[in-house]
Symmetry: C2
Subunit: 200 residues, 2 copies
DNA sequence: GTCTATACTTTGATAGAC
DNA sequence: GTCTATCAAAGTATAGAC
């Protein structure tokens, strides 16, 4: 382990910030040289400070999953009850996936990097510890781990259709309509029954 | 455009078949040399017959999207009623995403090429015409296009979590439990109310 | 300590010989 | 119509300049 001076730490942060931007926008397949260039350094320093591209990706994922996103520890633990959680997550999800917004969410990184085996292996571990396990412990009733996973699947599917594929029906729909549909789905998974009918 | 003789067309088919197998098993990151080797030719011929690896992938996508998948016109139009449709799609989805099975469904191909702009543009059009529009016309009630899109989003999300990320809770769950959960979600989107309670 | 220059390895793509 | 030879780009590793 190398000791880092002040300048070194700054460079490390610059690379990390550049990598976060690049991975979110282009997925894991973005080049290390491009990441380094946007940080004002050469590609070699990426390996010096992070060991490998894979480890750099892992650190970026940690960073993004810890930052406020659609599902955070705060959202999960601060919600007074589960129906509030449904509404909060639905609202955050619709807002963060609005057309034209380049959100830095962990789910988006996952979807953009889904074609790379190394990246998905890292994401699997991070999703388990950050989302699946705490959410599963929060749910009442039985089969909590499956229901938690389905919850995450709905979030991921909504994002891939709205932000990546950009399906017309989701990109142009009114936000409150989408929120209502998502809230109903989440309610079904969380408390076992829908909080509200879809057509109001 | 080159003119193809009998032998040329045969090698082209061999490469295409090998590519379908390879992409299904290993995803887009599989090497062109490996694809060519399994077809009994050198890597060069891949580019000669398909232009690039990307175009080869696109042709495999076309091939797979034409074949019966999770949502086909038959499933959609042959179902006597919508609740049967929910059950059929849920069962097909769980079966096709079983661990160890790498069926190259259209949704999965979409996810694997999600970071490629051209690929998503092509897939967006195919999804609209093949899935979104006919499904939307099949649904009763209001907001049919949004609900159809959400339906597709749930399918996509389930696949990405079970097949790509391989979340433990989804990969190891009992098939009939997953089917029940999916059927409830689909029912909520299709007929506006769940067909069955989750813990029932 | 911090960083650049250089090169090795693999992979996708191209040119020209037969 | 097919192959050998080669190129360009990407991830990585080493040596050494300041």
């Amino acid at each position: 382990m190398k000791t880092l001076g002040k300048k070194g730490a700054a460079t490390r942060e610059a690379i990390l910030a550049s990598a976060r931007q690049a991975f979110t926008q282009s997925g894991y397949d973005v080049g290390v040289r491009e990441i380094a260039e946007n940080a004002g350094v050469t590609a070699m320093l990426v390996n010096r400070y992070f060991g490998s591209k894979e480890q750099l990706f892992e650190e970026v994922v940690d960073l993004v999953l810890s930052a406020p996103g659609i599902l955070t520890r705060e959202v999960m633990t601060n919600a007074p009850d589960v129906s509030t959680l449904c509404r909060d997550v639905a609202a955050a999800l619709v807002a963060k996936t609005a057309p034209g917004i380049t959100s830095m969410d962990g789910f988006l990184i996952m979807l953009r990097s889904a074609n790379n085996g190394q990246a998905t292996a890292i994401l699997r571990r991070k999703f388990e510890t950050h989302f699946a396990r705490p959410l599963s412990e929060l749910l009442p009733g039985e089969e909590t781990s499956q229901r938690a996973a389905m919850f995450l699947a709905v979030i991921a599917g909504f994002q891939v259709m709205r932000q990546v594929v950009e399906m017309a029906a989701l990109a142009q729909a009114k936000p409150d309509q989408l929120e209502r549909q998502l809230e109903a789905l989440f309610g079904l998974l969380i408390i076992g029954t829908p909080v509200k009918h879809l057509t109001g």
